[in-house]
């Protein structure tokens, strides 16, 4: 995970190893930390981290954590790491700043806590020109601000350079070390590693295995099929095109006292099968009625209409389907729907009102 990537780039991390069975822990030599390997922050607070000062404690900690449930997730792996004598904790990260269209360096001498809780006056932030990248002068600005002594400052700048390489070469949205520990022996070491990659770059990082603990099983299924899909807690299934229009559809439904079951953005598609498969996902969420809201551009009205007709047949849909079609090929699309006995509306508001009504009537 994060630390393996750090190791690859030469960022110092504590010595350690991962086990899946408590029987696999190595012989105890010095105090260790046993950390459950889950993709969640705050695992320390949730009891996911144990300390061990003997062979028995080490084995016991691994036994206790493996198979335990932490915030709903089962621990299948634990990391056994040398305990470090902490003198001080720092914070450092590179992250995308969207409005600046640039990476930002954030660093603070007050690490080990959430950076949001650190006073602004103690945080160094600096925009990085992506064409120039990170250079040592930026590190000198940061270490001066943080008032680091010469030895620590030199190590800090070395880590900054390597961390920026991770950010850039691994296509990251965020790389964060919190805490970056200064040991009693005067060494900087990354006690935690957070690496969030840009999912749009996965085509050039084929070795990446994606999991997202925040997503529901249906959301993960949708993601694997290429749909932007979010489960909500209402009863009206929604299929629309474009993230903005899909969000506006949910807003309008909600303001009309309708309760959306999901967000599903078809994206720009010109493929009947993509439309039909979207119905499969929405049907699995078991809504009372389905609203399709399409403003055709890249996505053409006749393609969507054919997809709806195909889905109705293939999945034997009996639930009410309310369709709104506008834009490119809307006339052709509406005719296809009419021939198949499906009503469609030219405006979003008519369709919203109609679907709220039928969802209220449906049992």
């Amino acid at each position: 995970m994060g630390k393996e990537i750090f190791r690859k780039y030469g960022i110092p991390v504590p010595e350690g190893y991962v086990v899946e069975k408590s029987a696999d822990v190595k012989e105890y030599k010095k105090p260790v930390v046993v950390k459950s390997q889950i993709l969640l922050g705050g695992r320390g607070k949730s009891g996911g981290i144990k300390f061990a000062k003997s062979q028995a404690e080490l084995k016991g900690a691994a036994e206790e954590l493996l198979g335990a449930k932490i915030r709903g997730l089962t621990v299948t792996k634990v990391l056994v790491e040398d305990m470090v004598n902490i003198k001080k904790e720092y914070y450092v990260s590179f992250a995308l700043n969207r409005s600046e269209r640039s990476p930002m360096l954030i660093a603070s001498a007050s690490g080990g806590v959430e950076i949001e809780s650190v006073p602004h006056s103690e945080i160094f932030t600096r925009k990085i020109d992506p064409l120039l990248g990170y250079s040592d002068f930026i590190g000198r600005e940061a270490t001066k601000f943080m008032k680091l002594d010469k030895n620590i400052a030199a190590q800090f700048r070395d880590i900054l350079g390597k961390l920026y390489r991770v950010f850039s070469e691994e296509d990251c949205e965020l790389v964060e070390i919190n805490p970056l520990m200064e040991t009693a022996e005067g060494q900087l070491i990354a006690a935690d590693a957070k690496v969030v990659m840009d999912s749009d770059s996965f085509f050039r990082h084929k070795d990446i295995n994606i999991t997202d603990p925040e997503k529901t099983p249906l959301e993960l299924e949708a993601q694997s099929k290429g749909y932007a899909f979010v489960e909500l807690d209402g009863n009206i299934g929604v299929i629309a095109n474009g993230a903005g229009l899909t969000m506006a559809t949910l807003d309008a439904l909600t303001l009309h006292k309708g309760k959306p079951r999901n967000f599903l953005d078809l994206g720009g598609t010109d493929n009947v099968e993509i439309v039909a498969q979207a119905f499969d996902l929405v049907l699995k969420a078991n809504p009372k009625a389905i609203l399709v809201n399409i403003f055709g551009g890249v996505t053409k009205g006749d393609t969507v209409a054919n997809g709806i007709v195909e889905a109705k047949k293939r999945f034997s849909i009996t639930k009410p389907i309310v369709v709104r079609l506008s834009g490119v090929h809307e006339e052709e699309g509406r005719k296809i729907l009419k021939d198949a006995g499906i009503d469609s509306f030219p405006t979003m508001m008519e369709a919203i009102k109609a679907v709220v009504k039928v969802a209220g009537e449906a049992q």
Partner: protein, 285 residues
């Protein structure tokens, strides 16, 4: 010239033989856009729709003296295509493609800025100036020439709002989509500057969405610098925190980027905020 483009703007399409590229190049020709050439490496020497010359590279396309390009190639090839356009000195680079790695987009956007080149997108619908020129994928039939300029992060929601403006009897002076990818070329402030300077534009519609603080920055700019009437619509009011609503930026994190905050910022800047897309024309009148 009107906003960024007019009827004299000469356009090339990079990736003109692809599925999207060919369809939208055809629609742009119907709109009246002057497409002077298309590129498709290896297919040079042929013609698109028997009239638009196809060449192998942007360098060859420069013989037709283009001003702008539409890039419609797969995401892994966008960086190369955009650099090719920038290196050849095209002044307006529109990227249709979505899900471009943002590290690539950062380089494209910053290099373009150094050279005074405008980048639209990635993942936006492009620009339309009714009666003059369309570069992008907006449906042709929803426009009418008028004095309302529209800027939005999204595609289809823009069409929805433009459609309401046109049906109400008003018309548009320019419609620009910034793009839904994490890093895009234009900001609301860039576009507000263009709209404020444009003689045809009398009123402005900003379509915003949850996430980030671009709408708040725009509201501040409007308060200080924009004299024309501005109306806004914000989408994502019903979105639960922590869930990314399709667009890369559309997520409420730690209470930042909520619809309430954006609506409040606009109202404090004297901008009326529509509750539904079809309320926009009423607020413009």
């Amino acid at each position: 010239m009107t906003v960024l483009v007019d009827k004299n703007t000469k356009v090339i399409v990079q990736g003109i033989t692809g599925h999207q590229g060919s369809f939208h190049a055809g629609e742009m020709l119907k709109f009246g856009t002057r497409i002077v050439a298309g590129t498709s490496p290896g297919k040079g020497g042929t013609k698109f729709q028997d009239k638009v010359p196809i060449v192998d590279s942007v360098s060859e396309a420069m013989a037709f003296e283009p001003d702008a390009t539409m890039i419609s190639v797969a995401a892994p090839f966008v960086r190369d295509a955009a650099f090719e356009a920038i290196d050849n000195g095209l002044k307006l680079v529109y990227i249709l493609t979505e899900k471009v790695p943002f590290h690539d987009s950062m380089e494209i956007v910053h290099e373009a800025k150094l050279r005074g080149i405008t980048v639209m997108g990635p993942n936006g619908p492009g620009i339309t100036v009714p009666g003059e020129c369309k570069i992008g994928i907006m449906p042709n039939q929803i426009f009418r020439q008028g004095d309302v300029a529209v800027a939005s992060r999204s595609g289809t929601l823009t069409y929805e709002i433009v459609d309401h403006i046109t049906r109400s009897g008003l018309g548009e002076s320019a419609v620009i989509g910034l793009g839904g990818d994490p890093v895009v070329g234009l900001t609301y402030i860039d576009v507000l500057k263009l709209f404020e300077a444009d003689e045809r534009t009398k009123k402005i519609v900003l379509v915003g969405e949850i996430g980030g603080n671009n709408e708040e920055l725009a509201a501040k700019y409007i308060k200080e610098h924009v004299k024309k009437k501005v109306v806004a619509y914000i989408t994502g009011r019903s979105a639960p925190p922590g869930k990314r609503m399709g667009h890369a930026g559309a997520i409420i994190e730690k209470g930042v980027g909520t619809a309430e905050s954006k609506i409040k910022a606009f109202e404090e800047a004297g901008v009326k905020v529509a509750e539904f897309p079809d309320d926009v024309p009423g607020l413009l009148k």
